[in-house]
Amino acid sequence: ALAASKGTIYYMVPTLLDEFQTGSVTAITKFMGDVGYDVKALNADNKTDVQQGQMNDVIALKPSAIILAAVDFDALKPQVEAARAAGIPVMIFDRQITATKSDLTSVAGTVEIGYVAADQIQRLLKEKNGAVKGKVLQVLGDPGDPYTLDIQKGFEEKMKAFPDVTIISKPAMQWEASNAGSIVADQILANPDIDLVFVHAAHLAVAAVASLEAAGKKPGDVLLVSSNGAPVGLDLIRKGWEQVEVEQPLFAQAAALAMFADKVVNKQELKPGRYDVLGLEGTLTNEAWGPNIKLPGAAITKDNVDDPKFWGNMKTPETPVKSVE
């Protein structure tokens, strides 16, 4: 896009073992490129201490800014403070840090994903059983990962109102797909009346579907809901195995950072208000932890699955993002 780069921005990605994170590297690199910044990504492999070390190293490099998707939310607080003390602006991506000030936060909200999922699951149960009742198998990610715990929190909070819904929660250790497959295989035998399976990431849905298929189920026999909107999830919707994918607006989240990058790098003030981010409406507010732009997640169903705005369709928007003036 631009002849001369305005500088380098480091993106601290928590892991590359799930498709959302992989996609985020591509999207952030693209959008930041649109507004004139080079992006280098560092993968922390889901290790908080590794990410802390990476932050320390990057601070020594004095980049234009750091984008942080923390492995463990607030645990990165000391490094965020160190970076800002060194004059390097820090933008928070996807995983909100509220314990300390940062220069811009762009999130859909992990608890909110749980809310959206709960709404959709209530609808699906009602369609199937006539009322919001039945049995739901919730396959969590790793029980030591707050990301999955937040989704669980949001989901269960909203489901409290429906005592007729039994929720069985089992963790897929280390987010490993075949663990999820085994849980589904075992539970479908122990509880043949399971109506719906809710997995916390689309790559877990792959193994869950394989287990359902091996158990002789046909698409739709057991409902399936997943979160994060990865490409495999959308494929499963097209094939009828999955009913709903709760999408995290990856593109918009990334684009929002790019739109304000110049202002953040130049330490200018961000004006609260509503902004159009790739067609989604983002709300920028000033919170205790600094400017915060929130982008609403969406439910993907068979009806809208082909919409190119979903990152899972992997059509990174062609039109360049423009800096907010």
């Binding site: 029980p143 280390q174 497959g181 539970q187 122990a190 792959v206 494929d235």
Partner: protein, 332 residues
């Protein structure tokens, strides 16, 4: 003092103690855990054991020969991902098709085995030719192998293997899916090789005293290299089976199976010092671990406690095994 006949009986039990422990544990779970006692659950246990059991074959052979291989987990994932990328229809899969369709079974199998054997050969090169420490060489391969999975897939998943492959995970023979039978047959075949052929005998000798074996004219280097290749190929086979069961592959597929394989190998009676072990015992060890995992899946435990309980159960399982020693001492 015990009569010879009773002693023989006790010896038989002790020699196959893992199997007896397995039976006891299954009985306890069947009584204590609701829904545990049903053929479907037992079939699930056998099915879930498939991958670790297949991994454990090569690992056991290497440990018996006095080496080890930490790379097998990553090699399995790599083979699964290669199969996934080539033959799966969605995600990162490019969905190759063959004519006739069934050709995909041997083709994908050969590819998976080749991927595994290749990494095994690389490990062998460093360990046997360059005399590097097997632990560190295979640790490096564990890291770069998983790295290669991520690099190849870009962190994404491959999904939907064609039915010509998938039937191996769906069709059942005596209520176990075909993939489980593959691992059972492989275990039996290698158990035969270990116990009844010169190759197996030489592995035991090398594990017991490599210098003595070398002096006796056994080609220690060649045998060691072959065993690394076998371990790699078996990991490739495990990957092939895992891909078929998952109907594709994800970037973190099989994470944590290395530790399970090690635990199974030790529970199964293979000495980490080398020179001692049997593959049927190892298979029982795998089943034991899978039984525990299944019980945890079925018990209404809060998610946060599963790992705690898993660790405790492994300890108890091995504790039972050590009872063996004291019985042997006292009764014989």
């Amino acid at each position: 003092m015990v009569s010879p006949r009773r002693r023989a009986a006790i010896e038989l039990v002790l020699d196959n103690l893992v199997w007896f422990i397995l039976a006891v544990v299954l009985a306890i779970f069947s009584i204590a855990v609701p829904n545990y006692f049903q053929i479907g659950i037992f079939a699930n246990i056998v099915e879930q054991s498939t991958f670790v059991a297949t991994l454990s074959i090569g690992l056991s052979l290497l440990i018996i020969a006095g080496y080890m291989d930490l790379s097998i987990e990553s090699v399995m994932a790599l083979a699964a991902m290669v199969v996934g990328i080539l033959f799966a229809k969605s995600g990162v899969g490019i969905g190759l098709t063959l004519d006739p369709e069934w050709l995909i079974v041997p083709a994908s199998l050969v590819i998976a085995l080749a991927v595994g054997a290749l990494v095994g050969a690389s490990n062998a090169f460093f360990v046997v030719r360059l005399r590097m420490n097997a632990f560190i060489v295979t640790l490096a391969a564990y890291i770069w192998g998983r790295g290669l999975v991520v690099a190849l897939s870009g962190g994404r998943s491959a999904q939907e293997l064609p039915p010509a492959l998938r039937f191996l995970a769906i069709e059942r023979f005596l209520s176990f899916p075909l993939i489980a039978w593959v691992s059972i047959v492989a275990t039996l075949a290698f158990a035969f090789i270990l116990n009844k052929t010169p190759f197996g005998r030489h592995l035991l000798l090398i594990g017991g005293n490599a210098q003595a074996a070398y002096r006796a004219g056994i080609n220690v280097d060649r045998l060691t290299a072959i065993t690394f290749v076998i371990a790699g190929a078996m990991a490739g086979l495990a990957g092939w089976l895992l891909a078929i069961r998952t109907s594709g592959a994800t970037a973190n597929l099989g994470v944590g199976m290395l530790f399970q394989a090690f635990a199974a190998v030790v529970i199964g009676g293979v000495s980490l010092k080398g020179g001692v072990g049997s593959l049927t015992g190892v298979y029982a060890g795998v089943l034991l671990l899978a039984s525990i995992q299944t019980a945890i899946n079925l018990m209404g435990l809060p998610a946060h406690f599963t790992q705690l309980i898993q660790g405790g159960m492994v300890l108890v399982a091995v504790l039972l095994d050590t009872v063996k020693l004291s019985i042997r001492k006292k009764l014989i």
